[in-house]
């Protein structure tokens, strides 16, 4: 009898395991999207969307867009999930490789998209209804959604870096125009400190924010076409040394190693710092500060130019991508198309402040807001990221060194060389390092 109990338990465990291992039946459509294109009204099912937007500020708008979508297509149910941005990339990768628990649609940062595509996790959206009128998309964002000649995402929002400044502080210091290059920034910072006591410009030690300095010297992280790592060459070094000079001269307060940038942003929004390099996502937080109760006080100019006279800012943003193993491609395409349509982009832009990715979405209403208009202008000179799968991962090593460089703990040349070497050994094994 006792042996019997054990035997029953063992058999029970085996059957449970076998039942759970029952495979997923159903072949799933090839994902051509023909049903979505021809009879959208008949598409039914559930679509899961992992949205990485800010849970406090942006998610409510997107939830309401989802409700509107469900009203338009009553047969489709959308499972909206807000996923913390910092975790989303890893969470998606783990889910995608197991075939279980992955969403149908993901709001993917442009830096992640080529990586996902290379691993085969994304559906090629070229020719599907998901892209809608693809000619209407802005050039930079569309390039950021492509990999290996195919388009893997529908650009949803885009952004660029700009120079934010406190108009009142600049006026008090006698700086008539926002600085147009880094030398002018230095001069303006000195005046501001002298006459108002506020800090000059806030520089973020995050690797992404080093790009304007690189672009200003007509350089870049890597040269994809020539397969060269260019971060350690003379031009890049000059750009980074400009940044270090700003910190050394006191024009930019030295950021702390941890949470340094958040502190600077807090200073800026409360009027203790005059200038800041950041993107449109930060404006919502900044308008909550005591110095910008009157929104008109916030000025936005293009990123300052380098010694070559060229000003460059990276194009960032997010794409909506479709999981290659989705069980309902048609519904996913319809959702992607809906969310990236001009009308919805306009709604999101006016509600949240993000920048649309379609030319037709830049209506008078959208451009009426001075912040959006300013960033729209900044987009004109912005450069898309290198379209390599390692694009996002380049920043991990670079971040370590740039933080040390900008907090004056490491010599720029040493840090840049170390970064180039790290990239060559682990990420870009077949690239050359350009001196």
């Amino acid at each position: 009898m006792r042996r019997g109990i054990l035997a029953v338990v063992a058999v029970g465990a085996l059957t449970l395991g076998a039942a759970a291992c029952g495979g997923d039946g159903g072949g799933g459509d090839k994902g051509s999207g023909s049903k979505a294109a021809k009879e959208p009204g008949s598409v039914s099912g559930t679509v899961t969307w992992w949205d990485t937007s800010d849970a406090t500020n942006e998610a409510p708008t997107y939830r309401s867009l989802v409700s509107a979508f469900e009203k338009k297509y009553p047969k489709i149910k959308v499972d909206y999930v807000n996923v913390p941005f910092d975790q989303a990339q890893q969470k998606f990768k783990t889910a995608a490789q197991s075939g279980r628990g992955a969403p149908d649609v993901l709001r993917s940062d442009v830096g992640w998209t080529p990586g996902f595509a290379q691993l085969g996790y994304l559906k090629d959206l070229t020719g599907t209804p998901a892209l809608g009128e693809s000619g209407d998309f802005l050039e930079g964002p569309l390039k950021n959604a492509a990999y290996d000649g195919k388009t893997y995402g529908a650009p949803q929002v885009t952004d660029a870096l700009g120079l934010m400044y406190n108009k009142a502080l600049l006026k008090r210091a006698g700086v008539a125009e926002p600085p147009a290059n880094w030398q002018e920034v230095k001069a303006a910072a000195a005046k501001i400190k002298e006459r108002t006591g506020a800090g000059g410009i806030g520089l973020n030690p995050d690797g992404y924010y080093a790009l304007p300095f690189l672009y200003g010297e007509k350089s870049d992280l890597v040269d994809v076409a020539a397969k060269k790592i260019t971060i350690a060459d003379a031009a890049s070094r000059k750009g980074i040394e400009t940044a270090v000079d700003l910190v050394r001269s006191g024009a930019a307060p030295k950021p702390a190693g941890t949470d340094g940038y958040n502190n600077l942003k807090t200073d800026f929004k409360n009027g203790r710092l005059a200038m800041l390099i950041d993107g449109p996502w930060a404006t919502k937080e900044i308008f909550g500060g005591s110095a910008f109760r009157d929104r008109a006080n916030l000025g936005i100019a293009p990123v300052p130019a380098g010694s070559t006279g060229v000003a460059g800012s990276p194009v960032g943003g997010h794409n909506l991508v479709v999981y290659a193993g989705s069980k309902n491609f048609d519904a996913a395409y319809l959702l992607v198309k809906y969310l990236t349509d001009a009308a919805q982009q306009e709604t999101a832009a006016t509600a949240v402040g993000v920048l649309p990715t379609r030319t037709s979405a830049y209506t008078k209403g959208v451009l009426a807001d001075p912040v959006r208009a300013a960033y729209h202008r900044a987009l004109a000179t912005a450069r898309p990221r290198p379209a390599i799968p390692q694009g996002g991962d380049l920043f991990t090593d670079w971040l370590q060194h740039y933080t040390k460089i900008l907090t004056l703990k490491e010599d720029p040349r040493a840090g840049l060389d170390a970064t180039a070497k790290a990239w060559r050994t682990t990420l870009l094994k077949d690239y050359e390092i350009q001196k």
Binding site: G17, T56, P84, T266, N270
Partner: protein
């Protein structure tokens, strides 16, 4: 602080107060209390500080030494404008489940090793120790795949069982030592009285083992309550997020919503503190010499 042998002889010499053996002088008492107060302040200060910041509104954290502007606005925002209540409920469910299952499994295993020296008990004890040595973070992907195969993703049982695999090794190891201190005569008395081994375990041993079980329950609860990595990966629908996952929407690399975060932190710590309060008088007894003999 030593007593003086032959106190009577000393008394004749000088009018000193004879202290009872083990009593302290005033100076020693002050020193003792002062040290303990200082230590208690260091232990409690971060907790108190978090409460303080959470009560000072959205931006109060920027002026940490000023005592103005007290408001419950942060709590209001956290409770009303986020899914905090849902996350809280999920965390409670998962933590209680992990505690119940963890105590049951650890107690059975600890008792079995302690009383019934079956072949394989020594390797099992070593396994309990060794399992704690492998970095958990590296297990995430294979664990995800296993849970996927078993259909336990995005489900409470999946997370509960995972948490048990984290807390049971230490708890079983500890409980074995604790059961070792309970005399075998009690088991034998139970058998004489006609109870099955399980009966004597349940009726006689468990009541005596309450402190050890309290420690196990506390440890399992705290482990499940505060775990982040597995919860983030395994729970993919919003209505199943635990507190650890939800809190990450407040604080990230680019955000500094410290006001909201401290309010959420206080709300998270309160239940853990409550369980702690229930268990705390048993904690010392539970980890007593027997328990940590290993």
């Amino acid at each position: 602080m030593s007593a003086r042998p032959g106190g009577r002889a000393v008394r004749a010499q000088a009018p000193r107060t004879v202290r009872a053996r083990g009593a302290r002088s005033r100076g020693a008492s002050v020193a003792l209390h002062a040290t303990l107060i200082a230590a208690a302040l260091i232990a409690a200060f971060p907790v108190l500080f978090v409460v303080f910041v959470s009560l000072r509104g959205r931006d109060g954290w920027q002026e940490p030494t000023r005592f103005v502007g007290f408001t419950l606005a942060n709590y209001g925002h956290v409770l009303a404008h986020t899914e905090f209540v849902v996350w809280f409920g999920n965390s409670v469910l998962v933590a209680l489940g992990a505690t119940a299952l963890g105590v049951l499994v650890a107690a059975s295993a600890g008792y079995a090793v302690s009383r019934l020296r079956f072949p394989g008990h020594r390797p099992l004890m070593w396994t309990f120790l060794v399992v704690q040595m492998f970095p958990m973070a590296v297990l995430i992907v294979p664990l995800y795949n296993i849970l996927g195969t078993l259909g336990l993703l995005d489900s409470y049982p999946g997370l509960i069982v995972t948490y048990c695999s984290i807390s049971v090794p230490f708890c079983a190891w500890m409980l074995k030592g604790y059961f070792d201190t309970i005399p075998v005569e009690i088991d034998e008395a139970g058998r004489v009285d006609g109870l099955t081994p399980f009966g004597s375990f349940w009726r006689l041993i468990v009541p005596l083992a309450r402190p050890g079980l309290a420690v196990t329950a506390f440890y399992s609860f705290i482990t499940a309550w505060g775990e982040v990595a597995f919860a983030t990966q395994f729970m993919s629908s919003e209505r199943r997020y635990t507190l650890a996952v939800g809190l990450q929407t407040f604080v990230g690399q680019q955000k500094a919503e410290w006001g909201l975060m401290t309010a959420a932190a206080v709300l998270i710590t309160v239940p853990a503190g409550f369980v702690f309060f229930l268990a705390q008088r048993h904690l010392v007894a539970g980890l007593t010499a027997g328990g940590t003999k290993g």
